[in-house]
Point group: C2
Chain length 340, copies 2
DNA sequence: GAATAGCGTGAGAGCGCTTCCAGTTCCACC
DNA sequence: GGTGGAACTGGAAGCGCTCTCACGCTATTC
């Protein structure tokens, strides 16, 4: 019935300005608020979003950019958990979500996003060391929060975990169990997480006075690279393998089994992420738990804080990780958790 | 530099109206277009989306609603393929996508969507026979395309497959192979696909003069229900099982194996969907292929057509399915494909 | 009782764009 | 040279809302 604020105002016997205050929580007498609300409900009035956005400069919509190869988003539980986390947090706050996936080139996606306008802010995954899409968003005037960050992103807002420290802790755990030849099947080279985990691994090995020569094999965060990497490491002789993530560890486990090597008796094995399946492997996988869903949610909330308190400078959040010790490195002990 | 059309117009020496025409492809002389375009590029001008939306009544954004339990979206490849299909088609057409998942109640989601405004149209999955969210969207004035449809949706636009016919064809295939006691583990009761597939199954059995008594067991589109349902059917005695979808069939296969029953020699097995893993099972699964990604894309394109040709009445698209015959029902033959 | 404060309200000026309408210009043709 | 029409352009009226400002009124203070 009532299609505009003016009509609603006429029906309620107040001015348009007052109706606007009712909708947006301005100061209005209880009586007036009651009356206007009633008329609003009767007429099923919904304010025009474009007009609100134009007048106020806020849309209540944020963009979420997960530019990974099509298919990967739903095959790799990491990305789907992340998206789920962002979506949940935004829904909780009644903020709309526009989504961009990796179905166009990064340049095109960037262009589309900036032309779209309408966005109050953006959450984007920054997993690559070099990413024109992320750079472009940061250079734009749209407030942006990164999930994961690069060394160069010192002035950006981001949420991340300390991959270096976590990998160090995990590697140290292996060393403390008495392992000396600890191999590492890396994550995808050129990704932040991959490189940082290598750094953490190296750091721990060096501190323990152990060599890493020949013990680092390039992987790509997937099962296949875990299978292949494990074979190489087995041939070179290792007594423990730290994999770039859980999927890689699952692949490595398959190779170890194929070579009749027992885990953890012959070779200890560890992953990273603690995705759902990690605890269900045989033996259950020692790994680093990082709350991926929480990371997504934290990114969304950080962005909203940024939007609600403009000009307060970049926000950086480092979420905690936990070393989750399970059968693949323990042998006799049950699951233990050490935070770090 | 130039932040508004007026500024751009001044810089280019034309009126704001002409600049608008350049941007929106109105009739402008080649010379003028050139000049304006040049200034646009130099200044990096981007028109204000809210203002465009307000003035034109179009936002270039559509909503996608996949209201399924959190987690299911990414665990069930059906939904993720669907979303991927929609996302790809929209990206192709440079249309923005707002996404709503099942993290709030249907009523709340409906409310949020309608309040959001800004949407030119909506694509929504209509898998439940009774769905207030779908009903609410259809009742609103926002153009809506359903993926899957209910009997009552005769006046709505939708894309769908003919589940009844496909289930009939598949069941008939089993009967033609000589099976007489063909069991059916249903999909989730109350879902369109689940019920329609039962209908198709019944139809084929009845036509062949075969009884279905005691041969129908309720399932829920997942592996667990396949495992359980198969046990019941095995105990009652069957020589073939048609499962509500591929995941169910995978579960059934586990039970058959546990009971030392050979597939297809002792019991033939068939699924529905032809998701990626179906061909990789042992034996490879006979199933109905429905292009899920294509369904998503078709829904998006149908919506866009609807938007571009308003007032042309509802559009209904039935996508084809194929019977894919593999080892789980064939035994000796290699993969065959029959369309239907 | 006057001065002060503060709340609730309405008027009105935009926000930046699209699009209708009314020219103006330029040709082709008679 | 005059005419009709097509192609292009500018003026200006909105689109529906937010938000500042000013005003009137009541409550408080000394």
């Amino acid at each position: 019935m009532a299609r505009t604020l003016d009509e609603l105002a006429a029906l309620s016997g107040v001015s348009r300005a007052t109706v606007s205050r009712v909708i947006n929580g301005g100061s209005v007498s209880e009586e007036t608020r009651q009356r206007v609300t009633e008329v609003m409900e009767q007429t099923g009035f919904r304010p025009n979003a474009a007009a609100r956005t134009l007048a106020s400069g806020r849309s209540g919509v944020v963009g979420v950019v997960i530019h990974v190869p099509p298919g990967l988003l739903f095959k790799d539980p990491y990305f789907s958990s992340l998206l789920q986390g962002v979506a949940d947090a935004l829904a909780e706050q009644a903020v709309g979500m526009m989504l961009w996936l990796g179905n166009r080139s990064k340049e095109e996606t960037l262009d589309r996003i900036l032309w779209m306008g309408l966005l109050d802010g953006i959450v984007v995954t920054a997993s690559q060391l070099d990413d024109p899409l992320v750079d472009g968003l940061l250079a734009s005037e749209v407030p942006t929060v990164l999930i994961g960050h690069r060394r160069a992103d010192r002035t950006a807002s981001y949420i991340d975990v300390d991959n270096v420290a976590a990998a160090d802790i995990l590697t140290t755990h292996l060393i403390e169990l008495g392992h000396r030849r600890v191999g590492h099947i890396t994550g995808t080279r050129g990704t932040v997480a991959g490189e940082d985990r290598i750094t953490g691994y190296r750091q721990a090995m060096t501190r323990a006075g152990l060599p890493t020569e020949g013990l680092i094999v390039d992987g790509s965060f997937d099962r296949a690279s875990g299978r292949d990497g494990a074979v190489i490491l087995i041939e070179r002789g290792v007594d423990a393998i730290f994999c770039g993530n859980d999927a890689t560890a699952e692949g490595a486990l398959e190779s170890l089994r194929a070579w009749q090597l027992r885990v953890p008796e012959n070779v200890a094995l560890a992953g990273f992420d603690d995705l759902d399946f990690a605890a269900g492997l045989d033996p259950p996988l020692t790994t680093i738990r990082q709350g991926v869903h929480e990371q997504g949610a934290a990114a969304a909330l950080t962005l909203l804080q940024l939007l609600r308190a403009p000009g307060t400078g970049p926000r950086r959040v480092i979420l905690p990780t936990e070393l989750v010790i399970r059968g693949s490195t323990a042998g006799r002990r049950k699951e233990e958790v050490r935070s770090g």
